[in-house]
């Protein structure tokens, strides 16, 4: 019997304007230490968390967008992005950061665990998670 659960972090807020995005990221970093299956979902304004080229020097806030790129090292296997949310915001997968994943034992690797999926798939993924954390 396994105690491993499928955790889904649902991110629906833009970074910087509110604290939700950063809080979610911190909880993800902590959750990963408990060896659970952690996946992230980005929908609505949450897709803005992953945009490339963020530069917060001018607003005096920490730029935490580079931190998403290390989530593969924290054993996060999936980062899903809702396609409809992305399109409504004039963005494509090319506008988003890439996150590598590698199994350091077997050296099996995935170049980019960020995956754009349609709404039907989003619903399916949320439904099949054991726990959904909403931010």
């Amino acid at each position: 019997m396994s105690d491993t659960k499928n955790f889904m972090f649902l991110n629906r807020r833009a970074p910087y304007g509110t604290i939700y995005a950063w809080e979610s990221l911190e909880v993800v970093l902590i959750a990963a230490a408990f060896e659970q299956n952690v996946s992230l979902m980005f929908a609505d304004d949450g897709v803005y968390e992953l945009t490339k080229g963020q530069d917060t020097a001018g607003i005096g806030m920490k730029n935490f967008s580079p931190t998403y790129r290390t989530l593969g090292d924290y054993e996060v296997r999936h980062m899903y992005v809702d396609k409809a949310s992305l399109e409504a915001r004039g963005l494509t997968a090319d506008d988003l950061v890439q996150v590598e994943w590698e199994d350091w034992e077997t050296e099996e690797s995935v170049d980019n665990i960020v995956e754009v999926v349609d709404s039907e798939k989003v619903a399916e993924l949320l439904a099949e998670s054991d726990v959904v954390f909403s931010f």
């Binding site: 902590i30 990963a32 230490a33 935490f64 580079p66 931190t67 790129r69 290390t70 090292d73 350091w104």
Partner: protein
């Protein structure tokens, strides 16, 4: 409590971490190690330098598990375990090494 490094006074928080990351110079690690009665070797510096590079790239201090795996990959499998890291940094690789490297305390580290 502030620390004296290269003739400058640098601010630290109540747990001894640098308040301002940009204050860091190699002398910070030297001074902190001396207070802990630890002599820094190249093995220590390999970890400190790795931590600084990791922070530069990802803007966080890595969790111990991530650090262990990364060290094993970068510096050789025989070093990628907590026994080796605790041997170098007896107060814990996350806490002590991050402190020497001028990084904030790793997220989720108690």
């Amino acid at each position: 409590m502030p620390i004296e490094v290269d003739g400058k006074t640098l601010e630290t928080d109540e747990e001894g971490y640098l308040v301002n990351l940009n204050d860091w110079v190699p002398g910070v690690a030297e001074v902190m190690a001396k207070e802990d009665d630890l002599e820094l070797t190249q093995d220590h510096w390999d970890i400190i330098n790795f931590l600084r590079e990791y922070y530069e790239e990802y803007q966080i201090a890595p969790a111990v598990r991530v650090l262990t795996k990364a060290v094993g990959k970068r510096l050789g499998k025989e070093k990628g375990n907590s026994k080796y890291l605790y041997g170098l940094f007896p107060y814990g690789p996350g806490k002590q090494a991050c402190r020497y490297a001028g990084l904030p305390k790793p997220t989720g580290c108690v």
